[in-house]
Symmetry: C3
Subunit: 139 residues, 3 copies
């Protein structure tokens, strides 16, 4: 069994943004030498997501608007968590909707994807350095 | 290490429907010959889900109603994504709530499930051919 | 390839509660002897979740309040599922938001976590015995 580990680092300038990381994960798969296996790709922070969907800017605007409706950033005082001095209570909720991680099959040395699947890092509390873990196991 | 891969194809006649695929995944596990391992089961399309819950028709009606409240199909013009000519903006949101994938343990050659766990394909934009990937690794 | 399996049992006295199970999962990783691999940690029941977030009581109150807004427990008659005699229709919905499972990387024999990641069992229909599956594969 082979294993591989790499961290992808991000410093998003805005509070919220979606970044396509498919090529970076594909590069990890190639570097791992794994032909058949699984890749786990997860946010290492609890106010961010990794998810799979379409790379379409209108859809990303829809997600932004929808998540703000489901868990608005303001008023800050709406969240008990923000009594700790944070202002990111909403980000912890948004991340649960979009998810922490994806697990993707590796077949014949490639990400085994449907026609439109792309992997995104979803930042909900940016403006500082954060990271994603890519862990691969297989043969 | 052994690995196994199979696609399950669906052509749902309605826009939305939940299909129990547990037996088909169990068959994959048997065919794989894996006794101890993991099975990844994911939608290969970004307007569909694979999830685990109860095979109870009332609950499925509750999910349908609830998802329509959280991300209504209409008005179509509500979603920026639909400016591309699509009418499935809502389906991309519903799929995030229900999830893209499940990972299930294989123990002694069987799906290692609690008493009521069943695997479903959740279609949110049907009326065309779509598929689920079953990938198994283990020994 | 090594594999390991253990069930963690819970009997939560209230209907809803979040329990930090990180130490128990870390103990499983140690017992497994796996140095590089993946751990799957999933609820074996369909009205409960396993998720990763912050161990902060204010945040947990925010989750409780938010999930009650998204899928209120009452009125019981709001859910078709409750016509079966159950009163836990809401719990099946809440669990979809928070998720069934997490997959965590194992690196150098430890859970490969970011600074604040903690694993929780999320109970949405307690007052009876329920369990979580920990399955580990790797080398």
């Amino acid at each position: 069994m082979k294993s591989f580990r790499k961290e992808l680092w991000f410093h998003i300038r805005h509070r919220r943004e979606f970044i396509n990381i498919t090529q970076e994960v594909e590069t990890c798969v190639r570097e791992s030498g794994v032909q058949e296996g699984l890749v786990l790709c997860n946010a290492m922070h609890i106010t961010a997501s990794v998810f799979i969907n379409d790379d379409e800017s209108g859809l990303h605007q829809d997600y932004e608007k929808w998540l703000e409706q489901l868990a608005p950033h303001e008023p800050i005082s709406h969240y008990q968590h923000n009594l700790t001095g944070e202002d990111n209570g909403d980000a912890h909720l948004k991340r649960q909707i979009m998810g922490r991680e994806v697990v993707v099959a590796i077949t014949a040395g490639r990400l085994d994807f449907g026609p439109w699947e792309q992997i995104f890092y979803g930042e909900f509390d940016g403006r500082r350095k954060k990271r994603v873990l890519v862990k691969i196991i297989g043969q």
